[in-house]
């Protein structure tokens, strides 16, 4: 029954494309809608960035960024996320060429690099909290955990999404809907890397700069 529904959906898609050629294909419409969502997500992050920039010096006598941040850790995190963005781009190419094995390999690499980033971030948070730099310590730390933690939650959601998509490809193969969703996932993953560029520059590098 599911197979019938899927076949119907594919035929329906092709029929719609054939009927109104003057309209953009569904892939374009879906990706554009997701692009608008991503931009609104970035606008939300800009509010968190603004509150962090306003509160960065209000540490209430507690630890400052220069005392807390470990640049080596941040460099490894940055390398992990940049490399996973690159493998995600290569995965998009493998999907366009309908190569299943390469897709699985590159998605596994993307997942491992993203998970390594997340492990490093969580260990940084736990060691900060263990040293008394919890979110409730000062306005600076509240803003820090809100901003960096929100990015970490996005990465977690992306990792879950990637597993779900690989399960879909394994069960149903490269259907049109799976390809559309994987295109949206790639956009999401690249956008997270763009937000991380702002994060490591504004929070970590400006925080430790002399």
């Amino acid at each position: 029954m599911n197979a019938t529904a899927a076949t119907y959906a594919v035929e329906h898609d092709e029929l719609m494309c054939a009927i109104d050629e003057q309209h953009a294909p569904k892939r374009t419409v879906v990706a554009f809608g997701f692009w608008v969502f991503l931009l609104s997500d970035i606008v939300m992050f800009s509010a968190l960035f603004a509150s962090y920039a306003v509160l960065v010096h209000d540490n209430a006598g507690g630890p400052t960024g220069a005392q807390l941040f470990n640049q080596f850790n941040v460099a490894i995190e940055t390398a992990c996320l940049l490399a996973s963005s690159y493998t995600c781009g290569l995965m998009s190419l493998a999907i366009n060429a309908s190569r299943r094995g390469t897709t699985y390999l590159l998605s596994a690499m993307t997942f491992i690099l993203g998970a390594a980033f997340l492990v490093l971030e969580v260990s940084e948070f736990t060691s900060m909290i263990a040293h008394g730099a919890a979110p409730q310590r000062s306005a600076f730390l509240s803003a820090f955990f809100a901003l960096v933690g929100c990015h970490g939650l996005h990465v977690t959601a992306g990792l879950i999404w990637l597993i779900v998509m690989m399960a879909q490809v394994a069960v149903r193969g490269f259907t049109q809907s799976a390809e559309r969703r994987l295109l949206c996932f790639a956009l999401f993953w690249h956008a997270l890397d763009i937000i991380w560029v702002g994060l490591f520059s504004v929070v970590y590098l400006m925080g430790v700069a002399p």
Binding site: S46, L93, A186
Partner: protein
């Protein structure tokens, strides 16, 4: 009959797969160079201190541009106009929120009367 060019999905590219590999490799190389430069700028003593945050900000904006062009494939072509317009609007709102917040809060801090708990305790 089908002379109209369809819009391109963000993230999709019109170049062949072989040169696509090259596009991602160039993007990765540029991103690594820019990231390494901004880590160097944050730690060097060769640059005038107050200029360091400005340098880091410029490098970050350049790297975001590299990601948008080489990884997200947002171009200035006619098939990508809608994507660019949406991006431009997003950038406008982000700039307004961040610059506006910083400007207003700095102004408030500068004009704020010292409150009761910030004043020294009254002499009896």
């Amino acid at each position: 009959m089908t002379s109209k060019i369809h819009d391109r999905a963000p993230g999709d590219s019109r170049v062949r797969a072989r040169s696509e590999l090259l596009v991602y490799a160039i993007g990765l190389l540029l991103a690594v160079i820019l990231t390494a430069t901004s880590f160097w700028v944050a730690n060097t003593r060769m640059i005038w201190g107050p200029g360091i945050p400005l340098g880091i900000a410029v490098l970050a904006i350049a790297q975001m541009g590299v990601h948008v062009v080489f990884f997200l494939h947002i171009t200035t072509g006619p098939d990508s106009t809608n994507n660019v317009l949406a991006l431009a609007f997003g950038v406008l709102i982000v700039a307004l929120v961040i610059a506006g917040s910083l400007w207003i809060m700095a102004n408030l801090n500068a004009n704020m009367m010292p409150s009761a708990e910030m004043l020294p305790p009254p002499q009896h």
